[in-house]
Amino acid sequence: MQTAVNLRGVKKSYGAGEARVPALRGIDLDVKAGELLMLVGPSGCGKTTLISVIAGILDQDEGQCSVFGRDMGGLRGAQKALWRGSTLGFVFQAFNLLPSLTAAENVAVPLLLRDVPRKKAVEKAREMLERVGLGSRTESRPSQLSGGQQQRVAIARALVHEPRLIVCDEPTSALDHQTGASVMELMRSVALGGERTLVVVTHDARIFSFADRIAVMDDGRISKIVDSASQL
């Protein structure tokens, strides 16, 4: 199986001098294409920093990070932004839907960013909303949707441009258990497939069972990688 994400000796610190705080202390990690990997661990262990590096949002201080064979260190500024737009899908903890846009328009944003004509983008967004079970709410604004529905819209947005890697930051922490479970079921059924890969940051133990592998982080390091929640 192809490697989607390859990290070798990745280090990242915040601040400078005596105020310097190491967030990642040398991460080695391979994420296989087509798998759902969960990054788990206590608050402040470096999970968010790690997915920020994987997503090309933060630059590592040391080490190597490549995504689908592309060395992230070789990309700069606008080049990196364009790469993110074509390769990555995001699901955020706070959904981050634009409140003044309808569900379909929100889902269409990644396509609009790639200069797809608006009509075509919204049409494709409606199809994607249909796939996540929100075909009847395409014209609703985020404020008219429940938390679970908003996260479904966010999932549709993360998938609409058919990215190869989807990074999710605490996708269920703002949802109740049942809604969280259904969101994860949806992600497994709709998002995974082919070589599309999911990296999910979470500390919600209730959804660990949806992972193919779980990487446990502690104090900026990966302490262990397991295949199921029972091995934790």
Partner: protein, 384 residues
Amino acid sequence: MNFVALKMLIGDRAKYIGILIGITFASLLITQQSAIFTGIMSRTFATITDLPTPDVWVMDEKVQYIDDIKPLQDTELYRVRGVEGVEWATPLYKGLLKARLSNGNFQSCVVIGVDDATLIGAPIQMVDGRVEDLRQNDAVIVDERSAKGKLARVLPDGSRAPLRIGDSLEINDRRGVVVGICKVSRTFQSQPVVYTTFSRATSFAPRERKLLSFVLAKAKPGVDPLELCTRISAATGLRAHTREDFKWITMQYFLKYTGIPINFGMSVLLGFLVGTIIAGQTFFNFTLDNLKHFGALKAMGATNGRLVRMILLQALLVGALGWGMGVGGAATFGRLTSTTELAFRMPWQLLAISGGVVLIICSLSALICIWKVARLEPAIVFKG
């Protein structure tokens, strides 16, 4: 993404209206105050505006502006006529004389004496009567506004009636008979304007050795008026200006020696500052509120260039709308006050200037937001 930018802007109604109000207020204040200033300034050269026929005004070399009369000898007229390139030259008297009204009160009037033979310098727009009637005995033409106002007849019951053709008035103890009512631009001090012939005007005027205020000249076809001014000055030692130059010189005098520009400049500056602060702060708050969304867009692949274009579009839209509403408000104000003493003039140049100022306000506001968004770390989206 223009669509997304516009929906982001309009979607937050309260902020959108707040930004619009800020820019509208700034645009209104700047345009209205500037239009009043322009109106006042254009009154300073009203006499020149109302005399479109001559190309060149000839005067004593010490004259500083249109009301600064330094009379010339009558012979200067003939010297100007003798300059190469002059098609014709006519005398003009301009003076401030006292008119005695029917109720015994006195009123200062601008008396303009035009060439007896050609009547060049007479009013262009007649409301009643004919310019040719100035050739009748004691004939004068008065402006419509004064005929209804400052020069109006006082009836036995104390009420006032407009001055009409056939009515008479005393100018410096000499009888004047109204033969026409004309329309002229309002003067700087809003004094009545009385037209008569040059010879009659000089008989109205107090005895002086010299009574020729200006010589009005026309350039022959093909002769540049500016070049003619140079020739006249060289040949006569008098000062000669084209019509436009003389307007500008008159206005410059008022700009330099009165406090008008400072007072109006302060209002315009205040409008600019208040507008920039209100619009800038509201627009900045709008951006701050949307920072998380800009961060999400950045994470999803929006480049800084694209976000800058989105912000500029938002700023330009509110700028254009605010400018339009402000200018519309100022124009409405001008329309509503057109019959009052208030000076109000809104030429296209003024609209262009206020548009430019509004553009600067919006650009400054947008610049602060662009700076904030450009420095935004997209990792913000992962912070809950």
